[in-house]
Structure formats: C-alpha cells, structure tokens
C-alpha cells in the first residue's frame, strides 16, 4: 500500500478543525481536541476563543499546550482566571463548543472515561474519571467528540456514563435535570463524521473520511448506526493544513507521534 501523507491523528485533527466556527467560544480537552482547536485558530478560524478549565481565557495561539493548565494556556491571554469562573462560563451559556474524547461511546453520545468492566469496585481497567468532561457536555451548547473508531469503543451500552450524551433518548437530558437545548453535536473519528438525528437523538453517519467505505464504518461500530440519506466525503488534508499542524501547532510531535505507530 502506498505510504500515506499523514497519520490518523493528523487526519482527525485536520478534519475536526474545519468544523470549528470562527468567533465562537470553545472549551477543548487535552490531546486531539486541543490539537484541532489550535489548528483551527491558525488556519480557518483566527477568532476562535479558547477557554481552558484551569483559567486560561483566550490565549494567543502559540505552541500546543501539553496540559489544560500550562503556560501556553495563558500566553498573551485576555484573562488568567480560575476553574470556578471557567466552569461558570459554561453554566451561564457563554460556551458554544465543548470538545472532548472518551474511552467508550454509545448511540446517544454518552461517554465513559471512568472505568471498563461490569463491577465498579473491581473494574477491568480504571480510567481517570470525568475531569471537566461532565461539565463540558452538560453545559456547553454543542458537544464535539473525537475518538478512535472500533467496536470496543463504539458500544451498545457504555460501562459507566461519566458524561451525558442524550442519555436514553429524546427529552432524557431535560427529565434528568440538565439545562434544555444542548447536547452532543458531532463525533469525529478516523473513519467518519457523525451527527445525531433530530427526532431519535441517535448517532448517524454524516460523512466519510478519505478512502473509508460505509461498510468499514458499520463493521467497526458496535451498535445500530443510522446512515444519512446524503453521506458526504471529507477532503484530504491540504499541504498547508499539515504544515501548520506539524510546524506550528505540535512541533515536538507530542500528540501527533501517537498516530505514527498505527499508520
């Protein structure tokens, strides 16, 4: 097979970055979400406002922060605030996009980042827990999710709902006591982009990444996926997108190198 010009993480970051609308406020988690947000700010959306949970508000794009708190998150920022303020910005509706990952996801966009297994006290694998994810997905207007695509991750039922998607369907968020009018918006993987069908709130294939077939997506998904009537096809990363990602955003390849082995 011909050697690809990019690895899966580079591809995911580039594709996701194109969907971050300029001028909006975005709260991005560590790893690929931050990579995509930083890239968007360099190329497509120079006025995207990044907010970090430790208090960095609207830093000037520099190198990729290695942490949600490091000095790159406050580099020429308009404000060095704190966790309560950042979380209260979410609670008050100031934040359009929450952008996060997870270990497992189900058809309603519920996310697990707490534990894998069927016994909470004796998990097969213990994961870090919610972090800021629960607030991000409970309180931002549109939740964006980015994760690797496999049957192990796209499951019928997540082992633990760390972070709310549409819970068990339409109206469930409001019934549970969450604020109305928000929820999961898009899911990005190395195979495709997914949205949530308006009436059922179920995950739906929206568009395919370069070289990926519809069958491959269905094969790698552990639940019954809806398919859009008009499945789109994403453009390949451009030379400029890859250059900015590699040279400006993550020159040390701290996150990008994680995609090298799977290439």
């Amino acid at each position: 097979m011909e050697k690809k010009r990019y690895n899966p993480i580079e591809l995911m970051a580039v594709v996701a970055s194109r969907h971050l609308e300029d001028g909006k406020v975005i709260f991005a988690g560590t790893g690929i979400p931050m990579l995509a947000a930083a890239l968007a700010q360099k190329i497509h959306s120079p006025n995207l406002v990044l907010v970090f949970e430790a208090g960095g508000i609207s830093p000037k794009a520099s190198m990729l922060p290695l942490s949600v708190a490091d000095s790159r998150t406050t580099y020429r920022a308009i404000s060095c605030a704190n966790m309560p303020e950042a979380m209260e910005m979410l609670q008050k509706g100031l934040v359009t996009y929450a952008f996060l990952g997870g270990a497992q996801i189900d058809r309603y966009g519920n996310l697990n980042s707490t534990m894998i297994g069927d016994d909470y006290l004796n998990p097969r694998t213990r994961l870090p827990g919610s972090g800021g994810a629960n607030e991000l997905a409970s309180l931002a207007w549109k939740t964006l999710i980015i994760m690797n695509h496999s049957r192990r991750r796209f499951v019928e039922k997540v082992d633990f709902i760390t972070t709310p998607g549409y819970l068990d369907g339409p109206g469930a968020r409001e019934r549970a006591g969450l604020p109305p009018g928000n929820g999961p918006h898009l899911v990005f993987t190395e195979l495709g982009i997914f949205d949530f069908e308006e009436k059922s709130k179920r995950m739906r294939l929206k568009s395919l990444l370069p070289g990926v077939s519809r069958e491959k997506v269905i094969e790698e998904t552990g639940f019954d996926l809806l398919i859009s009537d008009h499945v789109g096809r994403e453009e390949e990363p451009t030379r400029e997108e890859l250059r900015a990602l590699r040279e400006d955003v993550d020159p040390w390849r701290v996150v990008l190198s994680r995609g090298d082995s799977s290439d």
């Binding site: 708190a69 605030a81 994961l127 972090g131 629960n134 607030e135």
Partner: protein, 334 residues
C-alpha cells in the same frame, strides 16, 4: 427541601462551617506574624498523617513537588481532594499513601498517557477496599472548594445530572425552591490542610501567583492549615505597592517556605516549563506493571535524597532550570 435523588458516594471530609468559623477566628491572632520556616518544620507543625488535604496547581503545572517528596520520605498518608490531579497524586498513589480520594481526574498524565503501575495499584487497592473513591468532576470539585471558601455547607450546580458519575458521587438532586428548576447540590469541602506553591509571598503569607489560578484561591480559603511554598520571599512593601496582585491574603496562611524551583519537574508559569524528559522517564518507569522500574525511580529521586536541592542537582540543577526557562519564554524552540 425534598431530595429526589442522591448519589451513593461517601463524604470523606466533615462539613463543618461553624467549627471553621471558630478556627478562623483563632487564626487571626497569628495573621500578622512572621511565618517563615523550613519545609520540615512546616510539615511537622501543620500536617498530620491521615489528614484530608488539598494541593494547589493543576495537572502538571505549579504542583508543590518539594512538599510531596518530603511527605513521601516522612511516611505520611492522606485522604485527598483530586480535581485535575496528575503527577502529585500519582507519586502518592504509587506509594500507597492515599486512603480516600474525591475524584475529578486522577492517574492520567494528560498527553503522556496513563502510568500503568499506578493504574494497576489503584485497581488492586480498590478491590481490597484499601482505597476508597467518590466520583465527582473537575467543576463540582471546584464548586465544593468554593462552597467551603464561602463558609457554606453546599452549593447548587447544574452538572452531574443523569449520569453514573452522579450515582457514585455524594451529590443530591432537589427542586430549586424559587424557580422549580432541578438543581444538583454539592457538599462543601472543608480540608484539614492545603499546600500551594506560589511565585512570590511575603513573610506573613500574602501571595502573588502568575498564570492560571485553577481552584487555588478557593482551596486556600477552605483549609484549616495552609502551607505556602514560594519561589521567592519578597518584602511586604512590594506586596503593598499593588494589593490587587494578592490572591491569597495572610489570614489564611500558617507557614511560608521559600523553595526556588519547588514545582520542578512541573511547569511554573513565567519561570520554567515542565521537564518533558523527566516526566517521560517517570511515565516510562511506570509502564512496568511489576513496580520494579518505579522502585528505582523513587530510590534515585525521592527516598535516596535528603531534600529537594539534592533532587534538583540529580536532575541537572541550575543548568537544567536555565534550559527550561528558555523553553518557557519560547526561546528554546527550534
């Protein structure tokens, strides 16, 4: 107020607003005294084993590593608040020094992944009941500190609802008596002790911090004892030149300990960047699930050293700090 739902998690720290008022009144007597001392004395006077503690900084940034090393050497164990905790909690967990943990985020070293030995130990100790966890989120942990900092017993918030995180927390769901809207109540988190590493403090404990503040202001205001470790001690005249820079005033502070580079190998905003090589070396040692590689790490860097200066020397001393300063100021980029 009717409670509609509540989590099954345990509350590890007593909710004691009235005791805290009395404690704070007694503390005002010492507010205007010289609190400079060395780290060993500060720990001896203000930290007891088994205390419920909170720690300042966030993730791999501005962590009081000098303090963590010293309590490891001295054999302390704790109960602990863990919103956005990484390397500090990992060091304690690797050595089985935490018994109860309120979790926002643990284990992960952010971009460096999850240390496998630490994860394995947590899993084993959870199964045996040696470690107890109550689930929260970074937001609810911050609001719990804030509720205590306000002198209250709880705060209403709008996250957690509908999730297993709620079910394994100690939060409660109620209808707001004013609006009828569902609200999640989170209990105030009063801590026995808090340790925060800052950029500058005077001898009374008036503190200045550069960069992100995370939930340090709330933690400082809701702990019975507060130890400040600082890069530098400055004159009170400097503090009084611009009082707007004081983020933690002296009333809350019990000890001021000068420890230059005291957050190394984590990032001290404006002064030195995190030492990616050191953290990677730790993460690599933690990949060995048997714990043997980490044993060597701890012997080299913690248990085989007498104090933080010795640790810094082993890590390259002043030369390494100078390099990290360049990276911090973005001059170290190719």
């Amino acid at each position: 107020m009717e409670i509609f739902e509540q989590g099954s998690g345990e509350i590890f720290s007593k909710i004691t607003p009235d005791d805290f008022r009395s404690h704070m009144l007694a503390k005002t007597e010492r507010a205007n005294t010289d609190k400079r001392m060395d780290l060993k004395e500060a720990i001896r006077r203000f930290i007891r084993t088994g205390d419920y503690i909170s720690v300042g900084g966030c993730s791999i940034v501005r962590l009081p590593i000098a303090f963590i090393h010293e309590v490891l050497r001295q054999g302390y164990y704790f109960r602990m608040a863990a919103g956005t905790r990484t390397f500090d909690v990992d060091l304690l967990l690797d050595n089985d020094r935490i018994m109860e943990l309120d979790i926002g985020y643990i284990l992960g070293l952010e971009m460096l992944g999850i240390p496998q030995y630490t994860r394995t130990r947590v899993k084993e100790r959870l199964a045996k009941g040696e470690l107890k966890i109550t689930e929260w989120s970074n937001g609810t942990m911050a609001w719990r500190h804030k509720a205590a900092a306000m002198g209250l017993s709880f705060l209403p918030v709008r996250s957690l609802a509908g999730t297993d995180t709620f079910k394994h927390s100690a939060a409660k769901k109620v209808k707001c008596p004013f609006t009828g809207i569902d609200m999640i109540l989170v209990p105030a988190l009063y801590c026995d002790a808090c340790i925060i590493h800052v950029h500058r403090a005077d001898k009374y404990g008036n503190c200045q911090i550069d960069g992100m503040l995370n939930e340090d202001l709330e933690k400082a205001r809701s702990a019975k004892s507060l130890i400040i470790t600082t890069e530098k001690i400055i004159d009170t005249d400097e503090i009084r030149k611009d009082g707007s820079k004081t983020v933690i005033p002296q009333f809350y502070v019990d000890a001021v300990v000068e420890i230059p580079n005291g957050a190394y190998p984590t990032n001290m905003p404006g002064l030195y960047y995190l030492d990616l090589d050191h953290l990677k070396a730790y993460a690599k040692a933690a990949e060995d699930r048997s714990g043997e590689s980490l044993k060597t790490y701890y012997l080299d860097y913690v248990f085989g050293t007498n104090d933080f200066d010795e640790f810094l020397e082993k890590c390259g001393g002043r030369k390494r700090i100078e390099e990290l300063k360049k990276v911090e100021l973005m001059e170290g980029r190719a």
